[in-house]
Point group: C2
Chain length 169, copies 2
């Protein structure tokens, strides 16, 4: 809270007047973050080449100058890692956000199937879950990996595996 006070040049009272508490502020931040990410993924879903756009989305989120490495971390991923330290309100915001983004990944998969970039036998929900997984794993990978080419190869592998076969049921 004191970091935020300094960054915004605001006194504690002002912050607590606008937001009720640390957790209330956290909830709003998470919701904004999710809203932002949703917009990005909906752009991907609206693209004419959804798979390529998906790759670009992954790359822009995971690859950036070294001095901004910390930005490779995802707020939601970070929050899930500390889910047991967060209050109920914050937990709900994080979990709802994950579901919300999962729906967006599903939209991307559906669009790719529609444009025949993916087989129509692709299980949409499973693929969406899987994509979200891949993103989480790559986020952690990107934090500790300074070789951008290695990250890019991982993304290529994700895009390839998306097109291969899926387990039954």
């Amino acid at each position: 809270m004191r970091d935020i006070q300094q960054a915004l040049d605001m006194r504690p009272g002002s912050i607590y007047a606008r937001f009720q508490s640390k957790e209330g502020l956290f909830k709003l931040v998470v919701e904004k973050y999710v809203e932002n990410s949703k917009a990005q993924l909906q752009c991907v879903a609206n693209s004419n080449t959804p798979l390529q756009s998906l790759g670009d989305f992954f790359k822009s989120a995971l690859i950036n100058p070294d001095e901004m490495r910390y930005m490779r971390q995802c707020l939601l991923v970070k929050s899930i890692a500390e889910l047991d330290l967060i209050g109920e309100v914050g937990q709900k915001a994080v979990l709802d956000g994950m579901v919300s983004l999962n729906d967006c990944f599903a939209l991307v998969v559906e669009k790719a199937i529609l444009l025949e970039e993916l087989s129509n036998t692709t299980p949409v929900d499973m693929a969406a879950n899987w994509l979200q997984n891949q993103f989480v794993g790559l986020r952690a990978f990107a934090v500790i990996q300074s070789d951008n080419d290695a990250i890019e190869r991982m993304i290529d592998k994700v895009l390839y595996d998306l097109t291969t076969q899926w387990p039954e049921n």
Copy 2:
């Protein structure tokens, strides 16, 4: 630290006599955790059916009774998420641990190639990195996913994708 004091029924002085500080204790815990995980992965690498053993390893780490859901989180993954809040000593322990486990994943891949469960064109280092990624992603997935079958299907997908093609260079 006070939680640990209570759990061990030890007074702060005793803990600080054995370990120098919170960070020193953290370092030892991480090292122990890595040692443990290494032993498990080396078992997998020594198996006659490394890919099946690898699947079992994933399942045992990711699937367990619901009341122990919090145990699905991995100490290293959690630590990477908070890497910016950890001191230098702790950071080094975490990053070294990740490299160490990555080597173990590489051993598993090598063994699988040797036993012809994987093509000998499989790029060992990339596959090891990739496997570690998959594990990280699945850890987060398992924390928020109560459907064990969904987790199991994801693991099956990982084992399948391990056998498919890899990006060049």
